[in-house]
């Protein structure tokens, strides 16, 4: 199912939390919604889920606005999680299945199938409060899959999970993508996003500041970077024309170049000033782009 988010805006009191946001989420693709805290990601997700109504703009699901049928085809994983702590695992999954319009028996069968698939079948009669935090997180992920949704919307799906469970969830998301599900996830973990997402939407201050596939973003972000490794004082490189910023990461020095800087000339000047053990042009990562874009906007 295709989702088209078209120029949606939301204003709370006098604060614009979403400002004409537009992007598409296609089936078989994972779209990453990125942005710092307070950028407007959760508000955007709530508008897609119809929990909040946009003040303007519209959200179209396969050519039509959200309705009960579409709502029942969405699986949602909220950012902060907690389920009914005193209730047994099976009862809670069953309840959410029923809320998604699954018949009683089907809801029960699907719950068992999923618990088995996630190796959680032993917890079937366990009260949720007795499970570890990680297991509860996994359970919540499972709850959003109970009705085999066509659309998956996840707010920070990896938050709070240990590496093993992260791997399980990651594999499941990719499997769902390959099955043709429409997946939108919001995350702070940029490396994770690079590994998972096919398309990125970067939001800041309620506005989309960048969007596209990783190569498209890297291409559009027409600033080069260089990596230099030297035993000499990096301060010697100061004053070279075309270098906008230097940043020491581990033992390497990352240089951010001006947009139209002459890479060859800068390389020559670096070699003239210091002895280098490594010097190469670096393709900016999502993290670099994210940081620079957000800082640039600020």
């Amino acid at each position: 199912m295709n989702i088209q988010i078209q120029e949606i805006s939301k204003i709370f009191k006098e604060l614009t939390v979403a400002d004409r946001i537009s992007f598409n989420v296609e089936p078989g693709k994972v779209v990453g919604l990125l942005g710092p805290n307070g950028a407007g990601k959760t508000t955007t997700i709530r508008m897609i889920l119809d929990i909040l109504k946009p003040d303007s703009g519209q959200i179209i699901f396969d050519g039509q606005p959200i309705n009960r049928q579409i709502r029942n085809r969405i699986g949602y994983l909220p950012e902060e999680r907690g389920l009914y702590q005193k209730f047994q695992v099976m009862d809670v999954i069953w309840y959410f299945g029923r809320l998604k319009n699954l018949p009683k028996r089907k809801s029960h069968i699907e719950a068992i199938r999923l618990l088995d698939a996630f190796k959680m079948i032993d917890y079937v009669e366990e009260p949720i409060g007795h499970l570890s935090k990680g297991t509860q997180q996994k359970l919540q992920f499972l709850v959003c899959l109970i009705h085999n949704p066509d659309i998956l919307i996840m707010d920070e799906p990896m938050a709070g999970l240990d590496p093993i469970n992260q791997q399980i969830i990651r594999a499941k998301i990719l499997q769902l993508r390959d099955e043709g599900k429409t997946i939108l996830l919001s995350t702070h973990q940029l490396l994770e996003a690079e590994n998972l997402c096919d398309y990125f939407v970067l939001i800041d201050h309620g506005k989309v500041v960048l969007q596209g596939t990783l190569p498209q973003i890297q291409k559009s972000y027409d600033q080069n970077m260089m990596v230099v490794e030297t035993k000499q004082d990096p301060g010697l490189l100061k004053g070279i024309a075309g270098i906008r910023k230097m940043e020491l990461r581990d033992s390497a020095l990352y240089l951010l170049l001006d947009k139209n800087a002459q890479v060859k000339e800068i390389m020559q000047k670096i070699i003239q000033k210091v002895d280098v053990s490594r010097l190469e042009v670096h393709k900016p990562s999502l993290h670099d782009i994210f940081m620079q874009t957000i800082k640039g906007a600020q």
Binding site: N72, E79, L99
Partner: protein, 500 residues
């Protein structure tokens, strides 16, 4: 629609299985019943197990203690009082020292009486001599008897002085000894109290009652009544009235208290006709506040753990709120049915005599249920709206406390209804929404309210509920997704009343 029923069922079942529901259904009424019944049972128990011995001591009065005891027994022949209040006469004149003193006084009295007799005899003799014909022997005899008379009078006066002094001393000592003895019995808890009757006070209508425990002063009324009867009896006797007539006149009256209930009349029973309606109101209130309390804490918990977002991604606000309110309302009705069932079980086991609860007719039960539903919906809409505004239970704690305090307010005002169920003030208060359910439920068995009061109160409640639901819906829509700082009062008002 199916999701609405799913939420309704879920809310019902999850709270039905909770410990709080079990507590409020079975333990709270027990605690409440205990609070109401323990004092009564204690009094009954103490009346059976703790026999109250009331002493009676009299000085210079003739057998009044015996009369009081007798009248007390007669007046309370059919009352359990007789089995737990026992009147005894306190006597200390049997001690050796007092016996000696009494013997001495008696001896002095006998001596005085003997001298009196001699004196009178001499006087008689002189009268006889005086009637003889005049002559030397008569004059001689008169002179001799005159000397004897003078002599015996002097001896008699001295004996009288001696007797009076002795008697005064003995009486004083007797009084001190007796009171000391009686006080000793009080201190050692062998006696609960004693009546002190002496001639001077008694003639002025004063009788003293001495005791250690304040509660004894409250329970002495039946004894006072017996004393009163004896005193009146004695006064009438002194006026020369016939004893059998006095007895007839002082026969205690039997009061039959007949209460009019609508068209019918029935014997008044304090526990059933006075406390009964209050108990019903309290039970309905336990139910209303159990259910709306679940609603309040449920919304708060779901908001604090973000389950509410998960729910709202599946159902609409209206379905969620309506499902919760109806589910928990059904739980409240179920709770009442459990109590009703328990009442029937107790009745079938003859532990409870329901035939005496005449106001519990099907019609009235229907009205109670109607006002329960209206009261629940009213408070539920308030609780759901306010509950959604807070992010954490701790934040809402004070407000919750305040709401519970407010809920007790109508019960406190219930005294007004008990006093005068159809007074203008009570009728006006019955039309103020938070008070309407309580006041109407109380008025139904107590005063058969005018028909128009039912229509007005139900109308007002329906309008208030609709208004409450609209405002709660607005608060819930905004509040359920509001995290962080709690909204100020002004913000709440603005959310509730802002033009949508």
């Amino acid at each position: 629609m199916r999701q609405f029923f799913v939420i309704t069922w879920w809310e019902f079942i999850r709270h039905f299985k909770s410990r709080s529901f079990l507590l409020s259904t079975f333990i709270s009424p027990l605690v409440f019943a205990a609070v109401m019944l323990i004092p009564t049972l204690y009094i009954e128990d103490s009346s059976i197990n703790r026999l109250k011995i009331i002493g009676c001591m009299e000085f210079d009065t003739t057998g009044i203690c015996r009369n009081i005891r007798q009248r007390f027994t007669e007046l309370n022949a059919d009352s359990p009082l007789q089995s737990f209040i026992q009147l005894i006469t306190i006597r200390t004149d049997t001690s050796v020292s007092m016996k000696n003193r009494f013997n001495l006084t008696r001896r002095l009295k006998l001596q005085l009486d003997s001298l009196d007799n001699n004196y009178n005899r001499i006087k008689e003799r002189r009268k006889f001599v005086f009637q003889k014909p005049a002559g030397t022997s008569r004059e001689q005899e008169l002179k001799v008897t005159y000397d004897e008379l003078l002599q015996i009078r002097e001896t008699r006066d001295l004996a009288e002085l001696d007797y009076r002094r002795n008697k005064q001393e003995t009486d004083s000592l007797w009084r001190i000894e007796t009171i000391r003895y009686a006080d000793g019995l009080l201190q050692s808890s062998k006696m609960e109290g004693y009546l002190l009757i002496d001639q001077i006070n008694f003639s002025e209508g004063i009788i003293e009652f001495h005791s250690l425990l304040p509660s004894n002063f409250l329970q002495i009324d039946p004894v006072k009544q017996a004393v009163q009867v004896v005193v009146v009896e004695q006064r009438l006797k002194e006026e020369g009235l016939r004893v059998d007539k006095i007895r007839e006149w002082l026969e205690p009256l039997v009061f039959r208290e007949i209460q009019m209930q609508g068209e019918d009349k029935q014997e008044f029973n304090f526990l059933i006709n006075y406390l009964g309606p209050i108990i019903i109101v309290l039970f309905l209130f336990i139910s209303i506040f159990t259910s709306s309390g679940f609603l309040f804490s449920g919304v708060l918990k779901e908001k604090s753990n973000r389950v509410i977002e998960l729910l709202l991604s599946s159902v609409s606000y209206t379905q969620l709120v309506a499902g919760k309110i109806i589910g928990l309302g059904l739980l409240g009705i179920f709770q009442i049915l459990i109590w009703f069932g328990l009442t029937l079980i107790l009745a079938s086991l003859n532990i409870l005599n329901t035939s005496e609860i005449t106001f519990l007719t099907f019609g009235n039960a229907g009205l109670f249920l109607l006002y329960f539903v209206l009261g629940y919906l009213y408070f539920a809409s308030i609780f759901v709206g306010i509950g959604s505004l807070f992010s954490h239970e701790e934040d809402a704690h004070h407000l919750n406390q305040f709401m519970r305090l407010l809920s007790i307010f109508p019960i406190v005002l219930a005294v007004l209804v008990l006093d005068s169920p159809n007074s203008l003030l009570v009728r006006i208060l019955s039309f103020i929404p938070p008070l309407t359910p309580t006041f109407m439920i109380l008025r139904i068995p107590l005063g058969s309210p005018p028909v128009e009061d039912y229509y007005i109160s139900v109308g007002i409640m329906i309008i208030s509920i609709l208004l409450g639901i609209v405002l709660a819906g607005r608060l819930f829509k905004v509040g359920s997704l509001l995290y962080g700082k709690n909204p100020t009062f002004r913000e709440i008002i603005s959310i509730a009343f802002k033009r949508q």
